[in-house]
Structures are given as structure tokens and as C-alpha cells.
């Protein structure tokens, strides 16, 4: 008896299980990070782009609430959310970016192509900061209040409907 012939069936059963589970799960984007309400971990990231400075924890503790956008030039949904980030910037939000596992050349190309809404862009080559703040994918956007505390997390790309929500959360964080 050759057990290997059962392998495809077992792998397929595993896939079926996962897919069936996923289908029954409601599609929600509000899985909150355990870091909400906590202070940012300490980090110092070098700049990912020649025109923007890098990011350190101290930059996010100067009293002004900001959006912290986790993205990457290789991520397709990030292209989709670029116009919304522009819209947020136009409505007065200050956006700090962290580029995940990225290459400065690709970052420059991406920004040239899709616009640069960021005041600062840090370079997180090993996803250390990403993991540290409880983000598990790109793109994600966090609201950081003036004291460096995470107050809100948006998972996935920002759609047009999400813009007012994020602005509201920023306003709350500023109060």
C-alpha cells in the first residue's frame, strides 16, 4: 500500500476546509490590533526616499495627531488607495509613511507615478516596525495621537468611504 497516493486528497481536503471556513466568515476590516490604546514602540527608520526624511518615534510625539500609512511599492491595493491618501492630505491630514521591504528606486518610481502624500517615509526592510505596531499586511493605516499613542487602525486599502471616517478619527485623536 502506497500512502503517497492519498497525499493529493489530503491536501485538497485541507484547502476545502480553509476555503469553506473563509466563505462562512463575514468580510470585516475591523480586526483591531492589540496595540490600540498603547504607545508606539521605539524605532528609528532611515529614509526610503531622497525627498522625504525618515521616521522615528520622537517625530510622532510632538503633539500633532497623524496618519501612519504602512505600504509598499510592490503592493497592488496601495496603488488603489493612492488617490484617497491624496484626498486625505488635501483635507489637512498629515501622513507619515513606512515602506515595507522595499527598494528606494521602486519607492521613487511609485511616488512619481502615483503621487507623494507623505511628509516622512521610513524604510522598514525587515518588517520590524510593522510587526511591532501590530500591522500584519500592506496597506494599513494607523491614527497616532500627539503623544505617540495608537488610537485607530484601518486594515486594507482606503476607499473613498473611509476618508471621512479617518478624518473623524484624527479629529478625535487631536482632542
Amino acid at each position: 500500500m502506497n500512502w503517497r497516493v492519498w497525499l493529493p486528497l489530503m491536501l485538497f481536503a485541507l484547502f476545502l476546509g480553509v476555503a469553506a471556513y473563509q466563505l462562512t466568515q463575514p468580510k470585516d476590516d475591523v480586526v483591531t490590533s492589540g496595540m490600540i490604546g498603547q504607545e508606539l514602540p521605539y524605532f528609528e527608520l532611515p529614509p526610503a526616499h531622497s525627498e522625504n526624511p525618515g521616521v522615528t518615534t520622537a517625530d510622532l510625539r510632538d503633539g500633532k495627531p497623524r496618519l501612519l500609512n504602512i505600504w509598499a511599492s510592490w503592493c497592488l491595493p496601495c496603488i488603489a488607495e493612492a488617490p484617497q491618501l491624496e484626498a486625505l492630505k488635501e483635507q489637512g491630514a498629515e501622513i507619515v509613511g513606512i515602506a515595507i521591504r522595499d527598494d528606494p528606486e521602486d519607492v521613487a518610481q511609485f511616488l512619481a507615478r502615483h503621487g507623494n502624500p507623505y511628509t516622512r517615509i521610513g524604510r522598514d526592510d525587515l518588517s520590524e516596525v510593522q510587526l511591532g505596531i501590530g500591522s500584519s499586511g500592506v496597506p494599513e493605516t494607523f491614527v497616532i495621537d500627539g503623544n505617540g499613542v495608537i488610537t485607530y487602525q484601518h486594515i486594507g486599502d482606503i476607499r473613498a468611504d473611509d476618508v471621512p471616517v479617518l478624518l473623524e478619527k484624527l479629529r478625535e485623536a487631536g482632542a
Binding site: M1, L9, L16, Q22, K27, G156
Partner: protein, 651 residues
């Protein structure tokens, strides 16, 4: 009335599929041509006719824009050009499922009408499997997505078609892929039939081969066209994004490519029996899996047009029944199928097995990358897998595969030695080394494109080596097919590597009258004009592009606004020269009155798609060669029978 007739035809076709299943099942049990089993073939033929009628009825209600039919009201518009009215019939979930089942029924009818090589029991089992698969789709259509559903009150006007989909290429792109998937469903049915009746023979492989080849040709064309569509329509300048939907079409292609080669080994050498059966099941699984991923919305994609979790559950259930059933059957029967003829490592079979393993590995890499987000999401971890994973990891397997592909066709069947072809090996190695050195002289060429360029040239030369020393006029057509398909891969590979090694990109903000440089091109913005089409208005940028200071050509990319439904799209312009393409995209107006332009110069990028077309042509040649040889064999057999009958009479 027409809609109701179509609906009725569908029900009758479904009933015939049941008959096909029952007749086949009884045929397997009793092992005789007696009784109900004899109805298998007529049932399959009639089922094909009825499904075709139902699809014709759907085309008709779309052609006359019958707005009392829900599907027409939701997807069409009286103002649309006729060709897009017709393509609207399958440009939606219900219609595309009907198209799928129609083509599947027609394929079943065709094998029922012409396939006489296999034992009748195997044929009945195959038709039963085909009927069983079709039945699932009929159930899907009739129970959860009836394309002929009427509205209680006819709509005043249709709701249009997604303007991004209002494109001639896209009107024919999904059906091409569908036809390919259906070809694989026939291969699947053959595999199941052969497993059920334990008749995995070279005859079975010969019966299956044209369907695999046909499916492979259509998938190749479908992927090539889809990639070109994404390239010029999305306006992002890329030609492959490793998007789940693209992967969904690539995975069946990889499996079909492996199957195509293994079925050839089985047909001519009676080896690789289990492997061929397995790939037959996998290939169709991949096409159903692709359909599931695209339609269910479990993965986010730029291409997700028709997402619905309920339909996803239905497809998943079908997937569980068919693929789960086939894999179970495989597990039960695989041990009783012997491996067939033996061969040594240094042989044509050896090379084919190596490449089949590599293809399967690439398939596994793509499958894992595509499903990984799904898997991790189950543990509340969301990830996005992109090119940094797919490119290098698939290259690990693709590069050795391409190298072996250059050598494989030079080897003899069964047993050979590399010493016999040492001259050719040295030539191929020399070209690779020379290519590596030559292209390394250019600045900034990354390692993967560099290897790709060198391998492409070596493979291009090597693909013609099997012709050496043979009488070209007497060479079988199928060998020409192989040569052309392999050369097509070399051509496409060169295009891909060149695009990623030598592309130039420029984002410029120009005032009217200003110009900018990209690669060897100088582009001048001559003017900005508003233009209007049948259902859109656009801003058109009139530009003059001159290649190395030569005579300028006029180009006019547009940024279009559709109004039904409202949506903005870019109409990029491609200016093709023999050595590459200028790609121009019109952006929006900046605050200071300058206009944003995106320009690319992509050397040899067109070779990607020419290569794809060459591959498909090679596949067509192979089909012609195989079918012609089959017909010849059949007519000889008939002549022998006639002569034998004459002899009997004389006695």
C-alpha cells in the same frame, strides 16, 4: 417566449445529463453494450444540441435588448454597439456559466460522435463523467443563477456594461479561457473514465491528446491576450501583476503544459501512466479552482468583476464533489495502475519527467502564493503576496526547466547518453556563456533578466536543433509544432527579460509646446482636445513622438469618462517599432496648467505576446499533425477490414 424556450432547453439538457450519468454507471457495472447503456452516445449528442439552443436563445434576447429579461436589463443597454450587446451575453456571471456548460456539452457531443478508439465501456464511463460534471453546472444555472429570469415589470433602460469591459479584446478573452478550461474538463472525464475501467493505455492517451492540446492552445492565447489587455488597458505599464485572477489562468496552463508532455509520453511510449492520470485531474482542478477564486471573492483582486460568496459556496461544493471524488478514485486505483515502460535518466522521457516536475513545482509555488493570504487569514493574519515572492521563487524552477528544455528534444527515447549529443550541448553552453558576458556589459541589468536573456537566445537556437539532419519535407507536422512552440517560449522569454532589463520610464508635466525625452524618443505635447465617443467623453493629448530625431508620428492617448455607469479609464497609446514600444498615458491637469504624462520606452516588449502566439501556433500545428495521422490510421484500418471482408466473400 424565446427566453422561456431557452430555459426549457436547459432543463431538458440537464435531464439528458442525468441519463448520460445513469447509462454510463450501468454500463460500467454490467460491462455490456446492452440495455440503457447504449443510450450514452445519443444522449450526449442531444444534450449538446439543446445546450447550444439555450445559448442561442440568450444571444437572441441580448441582440434585441429584451429588457424584460433581468440579465439583459442588468448588463446591457439599447445604445451599445451590437458587438458589445452580444458579448454582454457572456460578460456576466449567469451568461458565462451558460457559455461554459454549452461548450462542455458540445465537447461531449463531439467525443460521443467521433471517438471510436477506446473500449465502449471506457467511453461510457467517460461520457458519464462528462455528464456528471455538466450536471453540476446545470444545477448551478437552474437553481441559483437562471440567465433567463424575467422581471415582473420590464426595465425602461438597461444598466450598461462596465466600461472597462467594453473592449473588443475583453469580449473574447474570457470565452477563450473558458474553452480552454472546458478542454481540460474533457481530459478530466477521459482520465476518470480510464481510472474507472482500469484502461490507462496509449489509446486512451491518443484520445485525450487533441483535447489537451486544444485546451493548451486556447489557454496560451487567453493568457497572452489577457496579459496584453492588462498592459494597454490598465495603463500601469506592466504586463503581469501576479494578481490572483491572472494566477487563476496561469495555474491550469502550467498543469496543461505538464499534462501535454506526459500524455505524449504515454501515447508513444506507454510510460508515465499514473502521472498522466494525476495531471489530468490536477489540470481540471486548477481551472475550477481558478473559477472559484475569481467568483467567490475570497481573495481581493483588481479583476474581481462578479463577486458573490453564495455562488462561491456553490462552486466550492462542486469542487469538493468532482475534485474530491476524482482524487479519492485516484487514491483507490493508483496502486493498481502499473507504471508502464521503464526508461533511463538520460532519455527523452527523463528530460520530460524532469520538466514536468519543474512545471509542477512552479504550479505549487504559484498556488501557494495565491492561496497563502487565504490560509493566513484563517488565523486572522492578513498578508499580500507580491512579485518579490513570485519572481525569484518561480525562477528557481523555471531556469533549470528552460535549460533542460533546450536539451530534451535532442535526446532519444528510452535510453541515450549525453556523450552522443556533446557537440550540441557545447554549443548551447557556449551561447549561454556568451550571452551572459554580452548582456552583463550593459549597465544595471539585474541577475534574473540577465539569465533570462542568455537562456532565451540559447533556447531559441536550440529549439531548431531537432530539425538538423532530418528531411524537412518528410518531417511530421507535429514535430514542426514542437519546434515552433519551443521557439515561441524563447521569444517570449527574451521579451520578458528585455522589458525588465532595459525599460525606460518618464513621468513628465508638460505645457503645450514643451517636449521631453524617454529612451531614444522625443515626445512633444502639441495640444489638448476634448473628444466624444458614443457613450463617453475624453481629454485627448495630441503629441508628436520622434524616434532618434526622425520623422515624428502623431499619438493621442486619452483619459476617458464613461457615463453609463460613470467611470474613468485611460486609453493609452502604443507606438510600435521593430525593437520595442513607446507607451504613452494621459494624466490629469496639474494646478499650474501643465499636463501630466506617463511615458515608457520598452525595448522588445512585443516579443512577449508574439512568443505567446507562436506557442499557440505550434500547438495548432501539433493538433493538425496528430489528427491527420489519426485519420490516416483510421482509413488504413478500414481498408484492411474491407479487404478482409472481400477475402471472406471469395472463400
Amino acid at each position: 417566449m424565446i427566453a422561456e424556450l431557452g430555459h426549457a432547453a436547459l432543463w431538458m439538457a440537464a435531464a439528458l445529463a442525468v441519463l448520460q450519468l445513469v447509462a454510463g454507471a450501468l454500463g460500467i457495472r454490467d460491462g455490456e453494450r446492452e440495455g440503457i447503456a447504449i443510450l450514452s452516445r445519443p444522449a450526449a449528442i442531444l444534450q449538446g444540441a439543446l445546450a447550444a439552443f439555450a445559448f442561442a436563445a440568450l444571444l437572441w434576447v441580448f441582440a434585441i435588448t429584451d429588457l424584460s429579461v433581468k440579465l439583459v436589463a442588468a448588463n446591457s443597454h439599447s445604445m451599445k454597439p451590437m458587438i458589445f450587446k452580444l458579448s454582454g451575453a457572456w460578460g456576466n456571471h449567469e451568461g458565462s456559466m451558460l457559455l461554459w456548460v454549452t461548450v462542455m456539452a458540445l465537447a461531449g457531443a463531439l467525443i460521443a460522435a467521433v471517438e471510436r478508439r477506446l473500449p465502449e465501456r471506457t467511453m461510457q464511463a467517460t461520457l458519464a463523467a462528462q455528464g456528471f460534471v455538466a450536471l453540476g453546472f446545470y444545477a448551478f444555472l437552474l437553481l441559483s443563477s437562471n440567465p433567463f429570469e424575467r422581471l415582473p415589470i420590464p426595465a425602461a433602460e438597461g444598466q450598461g456594461l462596465n466600461p472597462l469591459l467594453q473592449d473588443i479584446g475583453l469580449a473574447f478573452h474570457p470565452p477563450t479561457l473558458y474553452f480552454g478550461y472546458v478542454g481540460l474538463s474533457v481530459a478530466f472525464s477521459f482520465a476518470v473514465g480510464a481510472m474507472l475501467t482500469r484502461a490507462v493505455t496509449p489509446d486512451f492517451a491518443r484520445a485525450m491528446r487533441p483535447w489537451v492540446l486544444g485546451a493548451w492552445v486556447l489557454l496560451t492565447l487567453g493568457i497572452t491576450a489577457g496579459s496584453y489587455w492588462a498592459y494597454y488597458e490598465l495603463g500601469w505599464g506592466g504586463w503581469w501583476f501576479w494578481d490572483p485572477v491572472e494566477n487563476a489562468s496561469l495555474m491550469p496552463w502550467l498543469a496543461a503544459t505538464a499534462l501535454l508532455h506526459s500524455v505524449s509520453v504515454l501515447a508513444s511510449r506507454d510510460a508515465l501512466r499514473v502521472w498522466t492520470i494525476m495531471l489530468g485531474v490536477i489540470a481540471f482542478s486548477m481551472s475550477m479552482l481558478g473559477t472559484f477564486l475569481v467568483r467567490s471573492g475570497v481573495l481581493t483582486s483588481v479583476h474581481a468583476f462578479a463577486v458573490d460568496p453564495e455562488r462561491g459556496s456553490f462552486i466550492l461544493a462542486l469542487l469538493a464533489i468532482y475534485i474530491g471524488g476524482a482524487l479519492l478514485l485516484f487514491a483507490l486505483r493508483a496502486n493498481s495502475i502499473s507504471e508502464g515502460e521503464r526508461f533511463s535518466v538520460a532519455s527523452r522521457e527523463g528530460a520530460l519527467v524532469f520538466n514536468n516536475v519543474m512545471l509542477s513545482a512552479i504550479l505549487a509555488v504559484v498556488l501557494l502564493g495565491t492561496l497563502y493570504p487565504l490560509l493566513t487569514e484563517a488565523f486572522d493574519v492578513r498578508v499580500s503576496v507580491g512579485p518579490p515572492y513570485f519572481n525569484p521563487v518561480s525562477a528557481i524552477f523555471a531556469l533549470p526547466m528552460l535549460a533542460v528544455m533546450a536539451v530534451g528534444p535532442l535526446l532519444r527515447w528510452r535510453r541515450d547518453s549525453f556523450g552522443r549529443i556533446s557537440k550540441e550541448l557545447a554549443l548551447i553552453a557556449a551561447i549561454i556563456v556568451a550571452g551572459l558576458i554580452f548582456f552583463a556589459l550593459f549597465e544595471g541589468v539585474a541577475i534574473l533578466p540577465l539569465l533570462g536573456l542568455a537562456l532565451a537566445i540559447a533556447l531559441g537556437v536550440a529549439s531548431f536543433l531537432p530539425l538538423r539532419g532530418r528531411n524537412l519535407r518528410r518531417l511530421p507536422v507535429s514535430v514542426w509544432g514542437m519546434v515552433m512552440a519551443h521557439f515561441g517560449i524563447a521569444v517570449a522569454l527574451f521579451g520578458m527579460a528585455s522589458e525588465s532589463a532595459f525599460s525606460n520610464e518618464k513621468l513628465a508635466a508638460l505645457e503645450v509646446g514643451q517636449s521631453t525625452q524617454v529612451g531614444p524618443w522625443e515626445v512633444t505635447l502639441d495640444g489638448i482636445e476634448p473628444v466624444a465617443g458614443p457613450n463617453w467623453t475624453a481629454i485627448e493629448g495630441r503629441m508628436l513622438a520622434s524616434y532618434k530625431g526622425g520623422e515624428p508620428s502623431e499619438i493621442a492617448p486619452q483619459s476617458r469618462n464613461f457615463w453609463a455607469p460613470p467611470q474613468q479609464t485611460t486609453e493609452s497609446v502604443l507606438l510600435t517599432r521593430w525593437n520595442g514600444q513607446l507607451y504613452a498615458v494621459m494624466g490629469s491637469e496639474a494646478d499650474d496648467g501643465r499636463w501630466q504624462l506617463r511615458l515608457w520606452w520598452k525595448p522588445f516588449v512585443t516579443l512577449i505576446w508574439y512568443g505567446g502566439v507562436l506557442m499557440a501556433l505550434g500547438g495548432v500545428l501539433a493538433i493538425i499533425g496528430r489528427v491527420r495521422r489519426d485519420l490516416k490510421r483510421r482509413s488504413i484500418r478500414r481498408k484492411i477490414e474491407v479487404r478482409r471482408a472481400d477475402m471472406e466473400e471469395l472463400r
